[in-house]
């Protein structure tokens, strides 16, 4: 049960699974080609799309490596689960931390102290410091 039957006419060791050469070489070529494609796509201006495209290609390449080179296609599903889970946890961390930074980013200074007030005004309209002028002398 450690190895499955659909390794076409290949040697079966006592444990594990032997990947046919043509799979390996094919995977290698595919990866090289995809690398070429991604480099080419970079010189094409797709505006917003560049990053997603590059990442999509990377994902495909990663999948090939994982399934063929790393035997996951023939391996126990749980090992695949382990890999996917770890990736998901990275995304989880990215999602939450990213959302938060995105939320509070406007409150981060950008400029030197003499410009802080303008900066705050620019970064966060209606930000406290900006209102100092309007409420000036409000105390009296």
């Amino acid at each position: 049960m450690a190895h499955h039957s659909h390794a076409e006419g290949e040697v079966h060791p006592e444990v594990g699974h032997v990947v046919p050469v043509r799979y390996l070489v094919g995977a290698g070529l595919a990866l090289i080609v995809l690398t070429a494609i991604t480099v080419a796509s970079h010189s094409v201006d797709m505006g917003e799309a560049n990053l997603p495209v590059a990442l999509a290609i990377a994902m495909v390449k990663a999948t090939i490596v994982a399934l063929i080179f790393m035997h996951l296609r023939w391996d126990r599903p749980f090992n695949l689960l382990v890999l996917v889970a770890s990736a998901l946890f990275v995304l989880l961390m990215l999602a939450f931390a990213g959302m938060d930074v995105h939320q509070y980013e406007p409150t981060i200074f950008n400029g030197n102290p003499t410009q802080v007030e303008q900066t705050l005004q620019a970064n966060a309209p209606g930000a406290p410091v900006a209102q100092v002028k309007s409420t000036n002398g409000g105390g009296t």
Partner: protein, 570 residues
């Protein structure tokens, strides 16, 4: 040493027939090297245990120093605030990274888990030893950092303070924690594989003892969360040494991002501490009530549920940290979800007592203390998960009290309870039962005196990590300090009763409590390879097959009952 007379239907499975009790894992090979290079999970576990207890002593000393300093406002035993800051930082760092996190999985888990599985060892014995030495080097480096000027960053290493403070011990201790983290990772990795691949025939997932479920859930967290701590500390180190600036506001970095990184590990870490404790309690309560644990599946699932939730609630450490209101709300909402499985566990434990046959052994006293303290710790968690009250309570002594109730009152009490529970198994000696019980009571009382006071202290507005405080708070501080002394006394008694037993304590039977899981069916102390032939596991919570045996002064398990059961199961 005399060999136990072996009855025909032995109280103990094959192992004792297999070889004399004079040949156990402690005596099997001799000499220091046979320990230094041992690959035996039991010996590694025992070494962990002594190391962890030593660290606990160290951390405890710092705790007492802190409490003493706080007897009076202003200077009491040191007039230098920096010294105090180093004390509480050390207390925190030692107790978290050197004591609580490794205490149950690495120390008790290493000894018990494979035997519970009827296995000969963990899946990767060499890795196991390696992770022990990683731990040791971490510990040594931690102590070394004292010599290099100590560190006063607080155990959370918040930037930019941790990157700007000029205490020389910061980088050593960061490295130390980094190593400790990987030690913890490898232990967890080992356990996951062991539980997956080395379960004996008859032990399906839902026939695993709950301690194994707990250790398994813990191991998952260790594997998935700890690497993030590793990279965070690494970034902190390069931040300090070569100014890489990712967390450094003066270089466009973002200190709040560091807190996200840190808590992404450190909140799950809280469950690395408490989950195995819960497992121990499930074992102790079931065994000492001599009845099947109530709602086994709910307890098992709640362990996994807690492990999973633990990854998505870290933001509740950051409600006032400048985290956005949106995320505060989100994290607050999710945080409550952890309360549910925890509550389920408590209810199930109490229900397990119902119509049981409760024998009040020392471990049982610890288990009852745990339920009491964990309930308080858990319920006060509600105050802190609630946004508006947390704003008032955050970073006050209320938080300090809360996490001491959970980490010390629960995790550590359970660890000590488990130590008593498995002590006879580990060393083949019975400790002084009366003394153990009395010590448990003293610790329990001292603990509540110490930390319940701190709830009032905190909600009245006393911030944490304060060297100096308003005179109005003194009355609370004095009471708290007295409590800590009581606790110290209690722990001393425990030490006496446990370590004393090693010198001429009565010989322990294989199964002193009437346990049903496999470790109780193997000699105490176990032989070096636990079971000569892999045993068949029965229903580990069916105590009807457990019988008292006068001759050995312990219980024995009638396997024929198993066989019948398995037949019916099949």
């Amino acid at each position: 040493m005399t060999t136990i007379p072996l009855p025909t239907s032995g109280p103990v499975r094959d192992t004792l027939e297999a070889r004399p009790d004079s040949d156990n894992y402690l005596t099997h090979t001799r000499g220091v090297l046979s320990w230094v290079f041992t690959l035996d999970h039991k010996r590694i576990g025992v070494m962990y245990m002594w190391a962890v207890l030593a660290s606990f002593l160290l951390g405890g000393i710092f705790a007492l120093l802190l409490r003493t300093e706080l007897l009076t406002p202003g200077p009491t035993i040191t007039d230098d605030a920096n010294v105090y800051n180093k004390w509480f930082t050390l207390h925190g760092a030692i107790m978290v990274f050197l004591v609580i996190i490794p205490s149950i999985p690495a120390a008790l888990g290493n000894v018990i888990l494979p035997i519970m599985l009827g296995a000969k060892d963990v899946a990767f014995p060499k890795l196991n030893l390696f992770s022990f030495y990683l731990w040791m080097s971490g510990a040594v480096l931690c102590v070394l950092s004292l010599a290099m000027g100590g560190f006063d960053t607080g155990w959370t290493f918040y930037t930019p303070y941790s990157t700007t403070t000029d205490t020389g011990g910061v980088i050593p201790v960061l490295t130390a924690v980094f190593l400790l983290g990987f030690s913890s990772i490898f232990t967890g990795l080992n356990f996951v594989v062991t539980v997956h691949k080395l379960r004996p025939p008859g032990m399906t997932w839902f026939r695993m003892p709950l301690f194994l479920w707990a250790l398994y859930a813990t191991a998952i967290i260790q594997v998935l969360a700890t690497p993030v701590l590793g990279i965070t500390l690494l970034l902190l180190i390069v931040e300090r040494t070569i100014n890489i600036g990712i967390f450094n506001p003066s270089m466009g970095g973002d200190p709040v991002l560091y807190q996200h990184f840190f808590w992404f590990y450190s909140h799950p870490a809280v469950y690395i501490m408490i989950l195995p404790a819960m497992g121990i309690i499930s074992e102790i309560i079931a065994i000492n009530s001599h009845r099947s644990i109530f709602g086994y599946r709910f307890i098992a699932f709640s362990s996994i549920a807690i492990a999973m939730f633990s990854f998505i609630v870290w933001g509740h450490h950051m409600f006032t940290s400048g985290q956005s209101a949106l995320m505060n709300t989100l994290f607050s909402a999710i945080s409550f979800s952890v309360a549910i499985p925890s509550a389920v566990k408590v209810f199930n434990w109490v229900a397990t007592l119902y119509k049981g046959s409760v024998s009040l052994t020392t471990p049982m006293w610890y288990a009852l203390a745990f339920i009491f303290l964990f309930t308080i710790g858990g319920l006060t968690g509600l105050h802190l998960a609630t946004l508006s009250t947390d704003v008032h309570l955050h970073d006050t002594y209320f938080v300090v009290a809360h996490f001491h109730y959970v980490m010390m009152g629960s995790a550590l009490i359970a660890m000590i309870g488990g130590l008593h529970h498995w002590w006879p198994k580990m060393f083949g000696r019975m400790y002084h039962e009366k003394l153990g019980t009395v010590a448990c009571w003293i610790i329990f009382i001292g603990f509540n005196v110490t930390f319940f006071t701190q709830f009032m202290l905190g909600s009245q507005g006393m911030p944490r990590r304060y060297y100096d405080y308003q005179p109005e708070f003194q009355v609370y501080h004095v009471i708290s300090t007295i409590g800590s002394y009581i606790m110290a006394f209690g722990f001393t008694l425990t030490a006496v009763s446990l370590f004393g037993s090693l010198f001429g304590g009565p010989k322990a039977p294989a199964n002193p409590w009437g346990g049903r899981s496999l470790e109780w069916q193997c000699a105490s102390p176990p032989p070096f390879d636990n079971f000569a032939k892999t045993p068949r596991a029965g229903d580990c919570y069916d105590f009807s097959a457990v019988h008292w045996d006068e001759k050995t002064g312990g219980y024995w398990v009638d396997e024929s009952a198993d066989a019948a059961k398995d037949g019916s199961h099949a």
